[in-house]
Amino acid sequence: MDPFDVEGGAINVRFLEANPTRAHFIIQNFNLETANSLRRYMLAEIPTLAIDVVEVLDNTSVLADEFICHRLGLIPLNSRGVDDLLYSRDCDCEGYCDNCSVVLTLNAKCTGNEIMKVYARDLVITSNPPNDAVGQPVITDREEQGSCIVKLRKGQAIHMRCIAKKGIAKEHAKWAPSAAIGFEYDPANKLHHLDLWYEGDDPKKEPVDQERINLDGGAPAEDEPFDYDAVPTRFFFDVETVGGLDPDQIVGRGIKGLQEKLAQVIHELTGTGGPEGDFGGAQSPTMNGGYNDAGYTTPGYGGGASSWGGNGGIVGGTTPYGQPTPGYGQDKPGW
C-alpha cells in the first residue's frame, strides 16, 4: 500500500503547510475533473467584498480620479461574514443600503511640508455593516498601514466615499478571494500529460521538483513500461489568500459552493424540493438551489450511508463513495 495513504483508498487530505495566509495540501484518491472544478470554483465564484462605486468629493492629488478609483477597487477588504450581506442587485433598495453594502470614507489632507502617504488603513467604515468584521481593509504588514493608495504634497487633499459591494471574481478579478491557487498533479510526468520542454539534448539534465515527486510515489523506474490506463489520483493544491478570507474558508466555501451548484442541477432536473419554486427571474448564483430540503440533506454521517451514498457502479471503483467515515461528527448539519 502507498505509505502516504493511510485512509486506504478513501478521499483524503494531507497538509504540507497551514498558516493564516496559505493552505498547501494534497488531495489523495481524487479525480481530475472534480479537482479542477474545485480549483476553478475557488478562483472565480466565491463571493467577497470589494469597493465597487466611488463618489469623488474632492481630489487635488496628482492622480486622476479614475486612477484612484481603480486602486481603491483592488484593495482587499475583510470578507469574513460577507454572507450577511445581500447582493446589491437582489436587494430591495435603490442603489445601495446597509443590507447590501459597506460604505468606507477616505478623507485625507496634507498640511505638513513632508510628502504624506495615504494608506488602506485610512479607509473608515461610515455605515452600519451587519457585523464587525466585514468591510474592514485587510492589513497584514508589520507597520499596520495596508497598501499605499496615493501620496499627497502640501495642500493636496482627497475625499472619497467608497461603496463596497458583494460580488464574485467572474464579474471582476477584484472579488477574487485568493492571490493564487497552485494546482499540480503527476510532478514526475509519469502520465505523459505534458511534453516537457528541455534545454540542450538531454531531458534528464533538467531540474525536477524532487520533493513533490517523492510525495507522489517517486520517479518512475528506468525500465517501467508506460501504463496506458493510469489516471491522476493525487492533487497538489496551494491556496494563498489575499487576506479577506482565511485559506481554509476559501476551500470550505469552494467545496460548499460547488455542491450547491450540483444540487441546483439536481433540483432543476428532478423538480423536487426547492424553497423558491421556479427559477423565473434573474437571481444570483447562490440565491437559488434548494439545498436545505429533504432531497438534499445528508441524514447524519454516523448512521449508515448518506443519501448521496452508494457506489453507483463506477467502473473499477471499489471505493465506497459517500460512505461515512467513522469517527467524524454525527452532529454536522446539511452537508
Binding site: 478521499i11 474545485l38 457502479g313 459517500g322
Partner: protein, 130 residues
C-alpha cells in the same frame, strides 16, 4: 463599449431555465442538455464524471460560442437508465465525494494548524524570547 455586462456570465435571464433538456430523436437513449449561465467548471465535471459509469455510452460537451455563457451536454446511455437520471445520479455522487473531502480537509487543517502553532511557539522559546 459594446461589451456585454459581465454579470450576464452567471445571472439567468428573465424566465430562463438553468437546464433545458432536448431528446435526440435520431439516436435512442440520448439527450442534449443545455445548461445556461454555466461554464467549463460544471461542464467538464459532469461530462468526464459520466464517462466513468458503465451504462453511459457517450458523454461530451461543447460551448457553442465563447461569448455566451452556455454549454451543451450530450449524453447517451445503454437504455438501463435515462440520460436525465444518469446526470442526477452523477451529481449526487460528486456531492458525496466533496462531502468526504470537506470532512477530511477540516480535520486535517485543524490538526496541521495546531502542529504548526506548536512549532512556532517552540522555535520562539528556543530563541529565548519568552
Amino acid at each position: 463599449m459594446n461589451a456585454p455586462d459581465r454579470f450576464e456570465l452567471f445571472l439567468l435571464d428573465e424566465g430562463q431555465k438553468k437546464v433545458d433538456q432536448k431528446d435526440e430523436t435520431r439516436v435512442p437513449n440520448t439527450a442534449v442538455f443545455t445548461f445556461n449561465k454555466e461554464d467549463h467548471t460544471l461542464a467538464n465535471l459532469l461530462s468526464q464524471r459520466l464517462l466513468k459509469y458503465p451504462y453511459i455510452t457517450f458523454s461530451a460537451y461543447k460551448v457553442p460560442h465563447p461569448l455566451f455563457a452556455t454549454f451543451e451536454l450530450r449524453v447517451s446511455t445503454d437504455g438501463s437508465i435515462t440520460p436525465k437520471d444518469a446526470i442526477v445520479k452523477c451529481c449526487k455522487d460528486v456531492i458525496g465525494d466533496l462531502d468526504t473531502l470537506n470532512r477530511s480537509f477540516t480535520t486535517e487543517w485543524l490538526g496541521k494548524r495546531i502542529v504548526s502553532e506548536g512549532d512556532a511557539e517552540r522555535a520562539a522559546r528556543e530563541r529565548g524570547d519568552y
